[in-house]
Symmetry: C2
Subunit: 319 residues, 2 copies
């Protein structure tokens, strides 16, 4: 049977109403959007008497404890598998790789989605996977509880950089307004997600920013985080995602790269690219990666200066 693209919330709602014993997959190196979307959906399914769990390959980082709350995995015989915020099965990670041909429903907001699931609902115009889940639950007339709304707001805030990034839409603001009415403690969430840093992390950022490399009159900026840096500064790896935003905060930088050495494969660097006006997904696509228009990623082998040289050569075509 060919994989199918769903075109409306009605179709997704119909599937959700009829499924049970659901495993919800979130991507490796989980972030606020996949955790929020997964937990939000799981809490909803449980609230209507179904069994559901949320899983991922890397476990939930401590900083998301406030989303996990008293969630406990349930025991049941799995009948249905949903992935959220996953554009490609390579993002399942080692633990969930076994699911790659077994995904019944994929709910995603990446334009680069590869339609690996039996049925896929993808809306690249949605600011976050959490926004799709929120609108879907509203469409279904679901009773959205405060813990559901807290999860969904967190993902929406995460993926929009708290309503700052280009992917923020009127719909994102309207959803946030409704979540506020539901009592979401947005101040606490935003402080936790965006503002608060340990003194050691502040020190680490200072040093890494100080060591940034610039090219093409400062239009291209590279911030590099090696395993040695992580050890020296005692950086929690789950905090590294936030570093990707740093290079673009430097005046004049249009292509902001962050190179993160992989813990298990030190010859590999995970590259994050943020752009002001260029197509980040296209650039990362040249290295087998992908993502969004202004935020994308890929993986490149080599020493930092070799990785930088490869990226520079390609980036110059987009100047």
């Amino acid at each position: 049977m060919e994989n199918m693209r769903l075109e409306s919330y009605d179709e997704v709602a119909e599937i959700l109403r009829n499924c049970d014993n659901v495993t919800i997959l979130t991507h490796k190196s989980p972030d606020g959007d996949c955790i929020g979307a997964g937990m939000g959906l799981c809490l909803y399914l449980r609230s209507v008497g179904k069994h559901a769990n949320v899983v991922n390959s890397d476990g939930f980082p401590d900083r998301y404890d406030f989303l996990i709350g008293d969630y406990q995995p349930e025991e049941f015989k799995e009948q249905f598998v949903i992935s959220v915020d996953i554009s490609d099965t390579t993002l399942l990670g080692d633990e969930l790789e076994c699911y790659k041909d077994k995904i019944d429903l994929c709910i995603d907001h990446h334009g680069s989605n590869r339609f690996f699931a039996r049925k896929t609902y993808v809306d690249p115009s949605a600011s976050a996977a959490c926004l799709i889940i929120f609108e879907l639950l509203e469409h279904m007339g679901a009773e959205i509880t405060l813990p559901m709304a807290t999860n969904l707001y967190t993902g929406l805030a995460t993926d929009t950089g708290c309503f700052k990034f280009q992917n923020t839409t009127p719909e994102a603001h309207i959803a946030a307004a409704k979540m506020f009415e539901m009592g979401v403690d947005f101040e606490h969430i935003n402080r936790r997600m965006f503002d608060i840093k340990s003194r050691s992390r502040i020190l680490a950022e200072q040093r890494l920013i100080g060591d940034m490399r610039y090219f093409e009159d400062g239009q291209i900026g590279f911030l590099t985080v090696t395993n040695q840096n992580i050890a020296d500064f005692q950086i929690d790896r789950s905090e590294l995602d936030a570093f990707a935003q740093i290079p673009l905060t430097v005046e004049g930088v249009r292509f902001g790269y962050t190179l993160k050495q992989q813990e298990d494969k030190p010859q590999l660097f995970k590259v994050s690219l943020r752009t002001t006006d260029a197509d980040a997904a296209a650039i990362c696509g040249e290295f087998g990666g992908g993502g969004h228009l202004r935020a994308a990623g890929c993986t490149i082998e080599g020493k930092p200066r070799e990785v930088m040289a490869k990226l520079l050569e390609t980036t110059r075509k987009y100047l």
Copy 2:
């Protein structure tokens, strides 16, 4: 005649419809909210064929050029004076002090407003003065142009920390959604207002954060900016407002103080306080200042360590 409190947008609208040749006052050390509200209102008044200007004591900092656009002051015989985002005549500054008993209409969102104008519309629940102006124009059925919306969005984003701070309301999000529909280039504005920093400013922040002082197990944090720092790091004084947010980003800090030495009166420090849960306005009120629940300010005389000692003594009562 006693000063009067206006209770509804209808009453304010009636006044705006009947006034002409208007001078709009904004506060000294102008920020995004007072400039946005002043310019937004001025552009509206001009759009309906009235004469209006926006003034303040310190001029408009360069970083707000994108709001000022091709605005030019008009020549007219002033007949009506409106203040926006001003809670007290002490905030008029030297150049505008002459207006302190001549303000016909005050539009403000500070709970500490002192009702110095003939007529005052104050809504402390409004996230920003710009939100009041926006809702007022909507209420009047005004045609809100893109330049008006750009000004009003900028102030709304400024005062809510881009929808992060405790004062953000559902109404703020709903207004933002409408401004997006009007075509406001929010990504550009937010990058400009919140993200982009010169390399010298990044260096300055690094050094100042490194020199922060902490008390009471790190619950109280002080960041001090002296005139010497400003000279050494070539900091633009108009950028200093943003420094007030820094101390609260350090994990564990509940009372985040920023002390800024005054350029003309080096024996005086302008104090900004941001709190996570304590009443900032009450603390600053003890030193003759004021503001909002989580963001307030005052001025204290002394050397940095003397100013810190005074603030510490008072803050300990609020721990």
